[in-house]
């Protein structure tokens, strides 16, 4: 049977017409799939006595900033009504450790109107913590002006971007770029990306630095005029940057 192209186009146009009218009517009465619902979850917990904060997010970008008097967590996004129950946020505190977990059920979506991601904003009071850990699976990490003796960031697939950090820093991603902005290099810094560029930018230039830069496919660039690059020494901070396939750079600035 030969299919008539004109007939198919007519049928297609009629179906599109039905879709437009149907969705407009349903949107007006608030039951269309396009009437998305907001994800707007917020939790807070006292920062008193907290020395360690761990943040986990599987599919939403995480941003950690300093500010406020308590630890506040906001999860925002937009999704279809039937998928709202697939987003979870929990904040718990025990023995000076705050654990923040945000997640979306990773079901396979064959047809989706919304991007099905979310953003997680974590605000922590400005003081020196013992440890801050941030990890994601398929999402980016950013951290601004937070201080901890040890800051650890890990994304399986996602970029890591920081500004004005202070402390011993570790950053790792399998696929993604790492841009580490630090106030000063006073402690050891480690950054590793399998597929992605790494850039370390320090606001204050160190006098001495033990620097190891490894890349299989990529360029290495150091722009620290006046800084003595020395061999590993107990009194000198060590910076280890490693990318399998990606450029590596260290510079001073903001």
């Amino acid at each position: 049977m030969k299919v008539n192209g004109r007939k198919l186009i007519m049928i297609g146009l009629v179906l599109i017409g039905i879709a437009v009218i149907g969705n407009l009517v349903m949107y007006a009465i608030g039951v269309s799939p396009f009437n998305g619902v907001k994800i707007n979850e917020e939790r807070s917990v006292s920062a008193e006595g907290v020395s360690r904060i761990d943040v986990f997010s599987n599919a939403g970008d995480v941003r950690v900033v300093s500010g406020g008097d308590e630890i506040t967590v906001k999860m925002t996004g937009r999704t279809e009504r039937m998928h709202k129950g697939e987003y979870h946020l929990s904040v718990s505190e025990q023995g000076g450790r705050v654990v923040i977990e945000a997640s979306r059920d990773l079901k396979r979506k064959l047809i989706s109107i919304y991007p099905d991601d979310y953003d997680l904003l974590v605000e922590i009071p400005d003081r020196l913590y013992e440890q801050l850990g941030i990890s994601t699976e398929i999402a980016n990490i950013s951290a601004e002006r937070v201080r901890a003796q040890h800051i650890s960031m890990q994304a399986v697939h996602g970029d890591i971007k920081t500004a004005g950090l202070a402390g011993r820093i570790g950053a790792r991603t399998d696929t993604g770029d790492i841009r580490l902005g630090v106030q000063a290099i006073t402690d050891d810094i480690q950054a590793e990306s399998l597929l992605g560029d790494i850039k370390l930018v320090t606001e204050e230039k160190p006098e001495k630095l033990a620097l190891e830069m490894k890349t299989l496919i990529g360029e290495r660039k150091v722009e620290l005029p006046g800084t003595a690059i020395v061999e590993s020494d107990p009194g000198v901070p060590t910076v280890q940057l490693s990318a399998e396939a990606g450029d590596i750079a260290v510079s001073a600035g903001r």
Partner: protein, 182 residues
């Protein structure tokens, strides 16, 4: 290279052709030699003017594949002609293979998109199951199906346009090859 050697090599290279076509072509080239000899040229000179038998055989096969594609145009025959032409040099890679590859990729993309949109109502059912949410998505499903049908018609029409476009390119290219052979 003597006339006998040249014709033997050419015959070997034209092994894919029918016996009738091969005999006709060899007769043409034999006539070239006879004509050259009558003008006082040596077999070596004639062979040099005609070009290496391997290249001549490839050019002949290219012309024949283009003729076949023109007589009965299908994507497969166009592909055969394109690849026969590509064997003639780098310029033909640029002139034939690149437009062919771009056209095929665009068509493949259009068909994949059309297929995805056409089966989208089924995908929605698999994803949401028989639920109120699925029923509420039915108008959307109808729209996607409609778009899929239109894209499908566009993709089928695209094949016709692509074949015409490639035939024009092949024809223009084969004219250049013929000029070279004269």
């Amino acid at each position: 290279m003597t006339k006998a050697e040249y014709l033997a090599e050419l015959e070997k290279r034209l092994g894919d052709l029918s016996a009738e076509e091969r005999a006709e072509l060899l007769a043409d080239y034999e006539a070239h030699f006879e004509h050259g000899r009558a003008s006082g040229r040596s077999d070596e000179e004639i062979a040099e003017r005609l070009g290496p038998p391997q290249l001549v055989a490839r050019e002949i096969q290219y012309q024949l594949s283009v003729d076949e594609a023109r007589a009965n145009p299908t994507v497969r025959r166009i592909a055969r002609a394109v690849f026969a032409g590509v064997g003639l040099g780098l310029m033909n890679v640029l002139m034939l293979l690149i437009p062919f590859a771009i056209g095929m990729l665009l068509l493949a993309g259009l068909f994949v998109l059309a297929a995805y949109l056409t089966v989208s109502p089924v995908l929605m059912l698999v994803q949401d199951g028989w639920s109120v949410e699925f029923l509420l998505k039915l108008p959307l499903a109808a729209g996607l199906l409609g778009l899929g049908l239109i894209f499908w018609v566009a993709a089928v029409k695209g094949i016709t346009l692509f074949v015409k476009w490639m035939l024009a390119i092949l024809q223009s290219n084969v004219e250049k090859v013929k000029e070279k052979l004269k």
